[in-house]
Symmetry: none
Subunit: 209 residues, 4 copies
DNA sequence: TATGAATGAGAGTTCATTCAT
DNA sequence: GATGAATGAACTCTCATTCAT
């Protein structure tokens, strides 16, 4: 049953996954084609059989990882009944190292690599913009949903809030990522929720604090 | 006298400045020793006469740039009469591209490079922690100063607020840096001030909004 | 019946034609198996199914192209009534770029590739010798025919003259091929005829000059 | 005494000589940078320290070899008293393999490589044109000199004759180079002289034939 | 017959680093 | 201090060739 196509698709994806893992472990600058090939158990030549150049592969691997993350995230959101639940989960997923089973911490390393590369590589810059817009949209969607359900008050433009909350999470995540002794994941979670509640305008149950 | 030492110090610093400029322009990954040498008008060999290795030089160049920035910043702070003035200036200096004469936008590129590198290079990680602590301290100092002068109300731990405000600025700066069409420098300035006022607890003059 | 064989023969020849065309366009050094495969619309693997190696294919392609040229040439000769007509036509066909419909210029590129390769590849050297002898023979045949018809006077050995006239044409063709501004195809045609007339010993009508 | 410059110049030239020798032996297509490096007893990296790319080096090596040949040739010409002596020597030097001590045969291999490459490489094409013009000029100079001394009769344009005689020598040389059994160096020498005498219009002493 | 995934042997090129001068 | 020739290790990428299907 379409095993040829399946096989090729698998190989393609297999390489992307391997690349994402290698970038996560060694960093973009230290990632060699042969590292990725080793990870897949194939020859370096094969990597360039599937991807036209190392640069293209790296960019695709970074966006692939982001896509994977986003898919998982979206699926979870759809299962949530309330906007508050969605928001809590979004924050939970955003805190580096909070949920070990999700290896959150590692993905942040990829996002930072995307930023650096996007500064100079137009191809990456373009991709990053798409990914970023999608992410801001997700936050805005939660806010709009909460307003429909009456959980959140009407207020500022949801898109604007999406950007602000997203940026705050970025900034805090960097602190956790770099400085985990000073700023623990749990603290980031609490602070993120406080900032969100104040920006969106809902009451935070005191027990949380 | 001391001309020998002076000269050596100058060469040392000259190389660091050149390195910082090259990293800013081309990115860490694309910076070659020969680029730095060209910038100084010397031979590549000489660069390694002053710095034991490329890696060491790059780390020193990044911290050097941060030091330079911090020195300029501190000098400015000392001249300010009120905490509010200090805070306004701190934000102004933190917004990428707001003040052309300071070329702020370019320095942010360096900070992100520091983050990426700190993720995997212990030497850089250690340096980064020092720089970051110093920066958070500066924000905390402004808050403490404002409380002494009565401009700001008593409230949460100043260090904690320093971290939160610093992180927010980081997150917003990335947005500006990457997405300047969506999120303008001026908007970042306004949002930063709002977040700071809410976190510190002072009133923002309505004219500002 | 025989369709299998026919088909195989066609495929074989199709590849040789494609190879000759690719070599003509890109040069021997820049000819890849995949270029030839693309030209045929088949996979590179198939090329090596029909030809045991790239080297073998290239040599066969070059001799194939020469054979094709020779066949066309022989057929024309047979239709000519006089030796002089034959000689005129031979020269016409030998001048690079004189007859656009024959794309003569391109074939010369192949002959030069044959020379270079023959210098070091014994297989090619052997093939080239056969092709060259055949060509010199053709010129000698014209001379002998002209002597039979009384158009040309008796004189030196026809084989010897074939070699001399052939060499002259080669040398002039290179000049035209490389230097067409200095030495035009028409001039080569005139010079070739003059040299031939003097070597063979027939009168050239003054109108020609 | 300028040993630095001397040394560098030597290295430069040493590489060019090595390259020319390797191309002569293995052919342009089979010449690797590492072959040239081995020939010089240095590392392959050094070759690219002196020449910006392999392609540039090869082109420079081919023109260098031609320059060397031309210099030797010019020096000889200047020593000759009569045009006839000059012409005899020119032909002698042009026959592949006639004078073993000059390794003439090998140089022809280079000239053919130049032709092939010039067909597709504009850089080589340009260089080749210069070399070729210089060579045709040399023949024309001999003719003009012979007319001044009265050895040769007035007649056609000397430049034109230079081209024709040059082309004839090219064509004959290819025959000798490829086919030395059929067409010996001595025969080429005789034929070349005959053609020249007829084109220029001087009497050939019967003893020569 | 035909494909195309896969390999592996290089090739050119880059670049940090060394070292004699 | 300063140069720049020289090295050598790596890396990306190419391509003929093989082989299972």
């Amino acid at each position: 049953m379409a095993s040829k196509t399946r096989q090729q698709k698998d190989r393609h994806q297999e390489i992307l996954e391997a690349a994402a893992r290698v970038i996560t472990e060694r960093g973009l600058a230290e990632t060699r084609i042969s590292d990725i090939a080793d990870r897949c158990g194939v020859s370096p030549g094969l990597i360039l059989y599937y991807f036209e150049s190392k640069d293209r592969l790296l960019v695709e691997a970074l966006t692939f990882a982001n896509d994977q993350f986003y898919l998982r995230f979206s699926r979870e959101m759809r299962r949530m009944k309330t906007a508050r639940e969605q928001l809590d989960r979004l924050i939970e997923l955003s805190v580096p190292g909070l949920l070990p089973e999700y290896e959150r911490l590692d993905e942040w390393a990829l996002w930072i690599e995307i930023w650096v590369r996007a500064l100079r590589d137009p191809m990456m810059a373009k991709e990053r913009e798409v990914l970023d817009r999608r992410w801001r949209q997700s936050i805005a969607d939660i806010i709009r949903f909460g307003r429909e359900t009456g959980e959140f008050p009407a207020g500022w433009d949801a898109e604007e809030l999406g950007l602000q909350i997203g940026a705050t999470i970025d900034g805090l995540a960097i602190q956790v990522l770099m400085n985990d002794t000073v700023f623990s994941p749990t603290r980031m979670q609490r602070v993120s929720l406080e900032v969100a509640s104040r920006l969106i305008g809902f009451e935070l149950e005191p027990a949380e604090a």
